[in-house]
Symmetry: C2
Subunit: 312 residues, 2 copies
Amino acid sequence: NRELKLFSGNANPALARAIGTYLDLPISAATVSSFSDGEIRVRVEENVRGADVFLIQSCCAPVNDSIMEMLIMIDALKRSSANRITAVIPYFGYARQDRKDQPRVPISAKLVADLITTAGADRVLTMDLHASQIQGFFDIPVDNLYALPVLLDYITKRKIEDLVVVSPDAGGVERARAFAKRLQANLAIIDKRREGPNQAQVMNIIGDVQGKSALLLDDMIDTAGTIVQGAQACLDKGAREVWAGCSHGVLSGPALERLQQSGLTEVVVTDSIPLRGKDLKCPKLKLLSVAPLFGEAIRRIHEDESVSSLFV
Amino acid sequence: NRELKLFSGNANPALARAIGTYLDLPISAATVSSFSDGEIRVRVEENVRGADVFLIQSCCAPVNDSIMEMLIMIDALKRSSANRITAVIPYFGYARQDRKDQPRVPISAKLVADLITTAGADRVLTMDLHASQIQGFFDIPVDNLYALPVLLDYITKRKIEDLVVVSPDAGGVERARAFAKRLQANLAIIDKRREGPNQAQVMNIIGDVQGKSALLLDDMIDTAGTIVQGAQACLDKGAREVWAGCSHGVLSGPALERLQQSGLTEVVVTDSIPLRGKDLKCPKLKLLSVAPLFGEAIRRIHEDESVSSLFV
Ligand SMILES: Nc1ncnc2c1ncn2[C@@H]1O[C@H](COP(=O)(O)O)[C@@H](O)[C@H]1O
Ligand SMILES: Nc1ncnc2c1ncn2[C@@H]1O[C@H](COP(=O)(O)O)[C@@H](O)[C@H]1O
């Protein structure tokens, strides 16, 4: 039949429903719970023979449960004779362990890629991979969307005056540059240096933020250390206000407290990871939805159309 | 060098240390912790180039974390150029999802087998697989030890009079029979039947337990429903006392309370899964160590000797 069917694990059901709304499709029925001992229990509750299945599961905390749930659901869908299974992974976990930056460490991002393929996924649809190289860890097709248009749209609507886009570190310059170009805004870069051992870190800003509205841009905010330090550096250098934007709001550990106590005006994140009440602890958080982006990409993949025009 | 090295994850470090003691070897140094967001962080802290590595990791709760830890450690060891990696999995999780007993369910035991191979294990050493068929899910060699000698030894020492070995259900008859034969004891089987819909379950005992000491034997005790029902049936049929023995004390949910409140005299489990204070809540629990069994098996695998004589 090649009918399009959406499934969701327990990681981000709200995003899955929003994608369903965009596509005017329900989330197909599946039991995804756990047994008394914590083992995951899955049962696909409707016929998927010959269907074009999209399983929406983000690598949200608890991340190992989310990954195992995804793998077991893929196994169940495969054994139920789905025609094609696309793992839709809005936030791809373990992406920061993508290289051996020390001796004798794993490359967990490659491992996770292999696990997804082994379980039986035919394609992957994800967004803002921490490193684009992770696409090459897969032997199956990977579409890597960008949240940039969604963030751009919001920032443009806010009509912030004298905007300067700031990369919080040297690694994020390309992302910040693409954003600044689209906004026709200036670019600045924070350059953290430790002048010697046991010396405090010095925050240098390359570019001008004096009297400007700074927008710190990163792919993810985890413990928020980098972004909060960067915001302080901008304020110290005379920025009028500082905003932060990212694709993935991991927001673990001290993140919420740090952000709320910082000089940041607003922290924009997408719903690749659900807030689950985090905005109550940190009202500075602003959630943008990537559901239309994913919905449109799913529609196009199903119709065998190109998704590249989504990467604007 | 082909030096034997033992590593351990966080699932069952006490068993790993006991195996080390048997082999007169330390547990090799590795960092196995987690980042702020819950992702597992692994670093092998000593050289393993060319070594014959045995990674001891049971599928204890939290089971998904234990499995991911094992996979990431295997990846790190493989990328550190270990000569051979044997995954030592005293309790193999997801083993009850070993067949499609309903439509559209996963075969998670096969998935876990595939994940272990994909991560890079060269062999598996395990004990009392819930179904021996799981060996066939692997394309790498699997040694499946039996806790039977350890349980037998203990029961023999207790010199229990008029012992009858009882299988708690039809599925466990072979295991109970092997045990009864070795003890030269009689065998009985509990046959649960529901005479019709909405009728209470009837517990029939095939064989004689009247005036005897019954020993209920199973491969695992999870929520303890089966074993406690079986014990009551034995007592109802006039057993003088009832003991229970199993290889894997999963002991989840209501298990401890049920066992403690039951008419059982003692519940014997092995340390394939650590008690972690469960014996304080349920003093009926008696823990036997399978460390010498695993230690001896590891020694023989390392020496390329046969382990089959351990299967007595
Ligand atoms: N979940 C995580 N949380 C924090 N740091 C991580 C995590 N995973 C990997 N890392 C570390 O982050 C560094 C890579 O980050 P990056 O330079 O931003 O790509 C490496 O040193 C990793 O060991
Ligand atoms: N972790 C678990 N806890 C309880 N039941 C399970 C678990 N995993 C699988 N099962 C179910 O146990 C049944 C198989 O058990 P068995 O007949 O003892 O092999 C199947 O119906 C499974 O769905």
